[in-house]
Symmetry: C2
Subunit: 374 residues, 2 copies
């Protein structure tokens, strides 16, 4: 077995005093690789190449340390599933360890194309060169496919760039997937023909494992212009497989359902920067939906800024993507979000777009005006 | 749209005083269904059928309440992915909400066969009518397929029932999947022929989404006798799809990698009972591997007992499964685990089986003796 010597690194925040934090770092080197006590691994090639290695260990504050740990690229192979496992699989079950960020090496990055569109590509695709992108959701569940399509038609008339399914729309009898997708895509196309607009419809393809790809192909064949998926439910690699499929070639919105527990606690889990930024990009998302601070969820302003930074931090040829603040946002908050995130952002406003005034089309146009203001 | 009136329930632990906990319960009824404020949903059919409903609300202790919330079966359809989303998708992103347990209704349960084998079926399959089952792992990563196969041979000679890949063995160049699976399965078969034993080899099929099923089929065709998968990486439904496939018809071991953050905090996430017991069973696991108390991980004795209870709690026709304590266990701890979990348990001992004495086959036989003692 030949090892290239090429290594990638993961940086962990380790809670505890210097001794216990260092013990955690040493443990990660074994737990994420050989899963055996040091003394039971006698093969020198394995010890020298498979063990993780502490590259740096620095105090963060009185109660935590940061350890940068490197791993051989060979222990991942070329699979996202195993990369995720090496980064945080077993140690998700240990206390006081948080994955902060990853620095992948060239040979490892070559395995991942990342977002097919990214920021520039999605702007081209939607014909929106400058301003923040506009997104909203079809809801509530319980509406029929025809009702949802009518809603999609009005939202497209109003000029919303990205009209996505609510992530709770799956394949329920009130609006079966194929019926819903065909009708909503047709409704958006009809509105575009009237306005000469470029709105797209993004159906939810979060589904049983054998159905995800099948639904995405149906969406493409029936005129959908993007896809929505919850990688916390399907696994990150199901999203990656959609992004990589040339037959689809559609922008992908990543929804954070079920991922909350990974970021619920500052001493465990994965950082917002890494999970919603770096890992989403590696897995092919073009936009990372997240619950903005001051909405219905627990993310703080700092969490959101870190997440946004992860959407654009340098990562080889992996493109930057759109942070997509959501979760109880209102039109009134657009100027503040514009100031916080800059112009490379997608605003996702659901209920707030309905409640602003009874005229939904007018509300959409007002949304666009707000987004265009500098 | 016709609603049957049949509902299933989820019970949540809500942190806070009575007012804030009740507000959380009311919020769950909307957040997990319509995702709109109450006043924006005017359709009476949707209000009456799609909204979640608080069935009971009771104090737990000074700082938490328990709310039992019911949902129409129609909002799930027949898909595990959407069931998981309704149970905990968006509210994973809200503080102070923990999913404790689910009670599924007959029409919903009909969609899920659950474990193909379960306790009785796995005992039949492995020809072990009475005693606890024995499991160990092939490791460390970095060994060649031939070396792993030699190890598997010795473990099978020693009479280990279930010889699984370490969950970090994927498709790396040091032991490529197909080569490893073919050689390890053949090695176990050779040992069985010598001992007239019934050991099985369980390769790890945690893989990129489009490869999981392909690898499982390869395993079946090449003599593997069970499958190992990490649903925290692949998504629960990928495991369900393996369990449901008649072409495979192999027992499934569920590994907890990446699921730690869901159970890391008593005020958020999902209970051990529900995640590792109820949801694992619904998703087809025959055995739930977990880090036992007093090993290398953070589970307490109470966590483990709750998990074990979830492996057997009544759930319609969904079979009970084997709790599989692991994570740094030693032979010395077998009697204590036997006392704690009873006989319907699978003991998973990895490194501890190697370090007991230099004679691995003898160690395995001693493991079996310990497990047989009452």
């Amino acid at each position: 077995m030949h090892y290239s010597g090429e290594r990638f690194t993961a940086t962990y925040r380790l809670t505890g005093d210097a001794d216990s934090a260092r013990a955690k770092a040493q443990d990660i080197c074994l737990e994420q690789t050989v899963e055996l006590p040091d003394e039971l691994v006698t093969d020198e090639t394995i010890r020298g190449n498979v063990f993780g290695r502490i590259e740096s260990f620095t105090p963060l504050d009185g109660i935590a340390f940061e350890a940068r740990i490197s791993f051989s690229v060979e222990i991942v192979g070329n699979e996202l599933s195993q990369l995720v496992n090496v980064l945080f699989g077993n140690i998700s079950l240990k206390p006081g360890i948080r994955l902060e960020r990853v620095e992948l090496s060239p040979a490892l990055l070559e395995n991942f194309r990342g977002p097919r569109f990214g920021r520039a590509g999605l702007r081209d695709f939607l014909k929106v060169p400058e301003r923040p992108l506009l997104c909203t959701a079809l809801k509530p569940m319980g509406m029929s496919a025809a009702q949802l399509a009518d809603l999609a038609y009005q939202l497209a008339l109003g000029g919303i760039d990205m009209i996505k399914d609510d992530h709770g729309l799956a394949d329920q009898s009130f609006a079966p997937y194929e019926e819903r997708v065909a009708q909503c895509a047709a409704a958006v196309a009809r509105a575009n023909a009237e306005t000469h607009g470029h709105s797209v419809y993004a159906p939810n393809v979060t589904a049983p494992a054998p159905r995800v790809h099948e639904r995405a192909l149906f969406a493409k064949q029936n005129g959908a212009g993007a896809l929505l998926i919850c990688p916390g439910i399907t696994g990150l690699d199901a999203m990656r497989a959609l992004a990589d499929d040339e037959r689809l070639a559609l922008p992908i919105l990543s929804h954070p359902a079920m991922q909350g527990s990974l970021v619920a606690n500052a001493t465990t889990g994965i950082s917002h920067f890494c999970l919603f930024g770096q890992l989403n990009r590696l897995a092919g998302a073009d936009a990372a939906i997240f619950p903005n601070a001051g909405g219905r969820f627990f993310f703080t302003r700092d969490d959101c800024l870190a997440l946004s930074a992860g959407c654009a931090a340098p990562m080889g040829d992996i493109k930057p993507i759109f942070p997509t603040p959501a979760g109880g946002m209102s039109l009134e908050r657009v100027p503040e979000m514009r100031a916080l995130y800059g112009r490379d952002v997608m605003f996702l406003i659901g209920g707030g777009l309905r409640s602003h005034s009874p005229d939904l089309v007018a509300n959409c146009r007002y949304f666009q005006e707000l987004a265009e203001e500098i």
